[in-house]
Symmetry: D3
């Protein structure tokens, strides 16, 4: 499996499994997923800023899947690579060296997002 | 490797590695493992309820191996799929969206437990 | 301040502050609070079991306010002191000695709930 | 002690204790504090955004002192109350109901910052 | 209440509450407390080193009561102030700035231990 | 892939990714990495003790990559297998059964370090 496939495979599995979670047919879970999506919509803060907040929260709580998801959303909402890396630095200082393996993971994901043209580098 | 094998492989590796942990021959570690087993025996609360407690604790602390172990124990002690999913919903609300990747993982494990006939669906 | 007042004061401050959180008038926050309340209603699992799940989740995540809230709900939904203590033991084993200060706190809260007649001891 | 005094007392104790931490005269600790300060300076992201990131990281990691510090910095760097509350909502969804006691605390701090004129409400 | 009283009060309340936890009369909890005590006895590693390990674990998991307990044990088993501060620096780097409020707390406790003559400063 | 390769592959990927993190060219991140390295140098505490502290911190925070790194450093700085296992026991008691999957992982890593001659067994 090439590195490129890691990100594509994550997206595919995430979508399939999210559907299976919906198929569990639990109203509370369905409502949570709905609310989760709404959280990152434009509000008092724009979606772009909220995706950066979601990224840093995911990084200090050390969840690679959540980091990958928010990295992609950050890229899509127009944050540059330098801005995303600056946000990851905040996560590193707040969360400490235990965040470093996730910083390595995020660096690889940024590389993949750059290769496929999702991430602006300038 | 098929999905079916994921659960079987987990069980096998878990057992082999637990034996190797015992072979470290540390009295404190041995006593902890013994106490851990005793914790889920019938007491003031029945084993079935305590396995649900172990599941939710594992989910909010976000440990897939622990989730898989307790999902199997929940199924074996007679909790239905609907009850287990209802317990996972508590974990999701208490622990937040950072629990979602583990909910996806648990959903896949429930599917495997259902396929092999360990989990009651009615 | 007597110990009795600790629990009463917590209830009062919690209610006042929850109202102020509502007054922030953020739709996402309001919906989360609403969903949180619904989570513990009777479903596939009865409210009584879900309050025990909420207690253990709160204990391993080490939040005294959450522990106090769920202890009261556990008592009100009919769990006995012995059952609640058995649930706390699961939290102690899963979460480790770092949970002990919260076990001390919970023990004090149980004492207060017993004194005021909220907790069944038999 | 009035509520107003809670925030003033926090600031005073924080400053005194930070000086005592410096007096420990450990080079590594001194360098960490220096780096921590630099992290929130204008960079690829402006200080204002980074303070919001620090706030959300503090909220999901559930540290009231850190929350209070970043709330003040958010207010001082020009984030409005509505923007700060929107950021706290992200923390609530990512971190779950275990964040609620900290949301109550933050709501009280916002009130104090508003009363003393540090926080813009429009 | 003077600062000196903070540490004395902690010791007193801790002892009273530990006895009440024992009075809950739950075998699993009693065994856990017994095992916890045994963990820090001389073994392959001396008690002095294990208390430093307990301190760092408590600091990165951010529990002030646990930090205070292990600080006292570190002092009693002969670790100097400089050694304890060096251990706290490891906790700060691994755990990040979220550990800082606990570093402030520990600095105050070290001061109290020094004043009462429990801590060696040379 | 054999078990032996797991450790070698981790070392190689870790080094490659650390270089890519440096290539992100963020001054704050570079300084953090530098400080992280300095933390474990001989100071008031010897490097050997600080690597044990880093190991226990990594174990209670449940990061396998961090555990593997510190296990190797502990072995290289002269800690014996029995001493390392005794340190892991402290992590197990403080962090609870949620640490067990990481204890299994560490046991496997110790085995690999022993096979390649990095770890002293006497």
């Amino acid at each position: 499996m090439s590195d490129k496939n890691r990100l594509d495979q994550f997206r595919e599995e995430r979508e399939i499994m999210n559907e299976k979670v919906m198929d569990l047919d639990h109203l509370g879970i369905k409502r949570f997923f709905n609310m989760d999506t709404n959280t990152y919509r434009d509000g008092a803060l724009p979606k772009q800023t909220k995706e950066l907040l979601g990224l840093v929260a995911s990084a200090v709580l050390r969840c690679n899947d959540c980091i990958d998801y928010h990295l992609e959303q950050c890229a899509k909402t127009g944050s540059t690579k330098a801005e995303i890396v600056d946000a990851m630095n905040v996560a590193l200082i707040v969360g400490g060296s235990i965040v470093i393996p996730h910083l390595r993971h995020a660096t690889n994901t940024l590389e993949l997002l750059e290769e496929e043209g999702t991430l602006k580098t300038v």
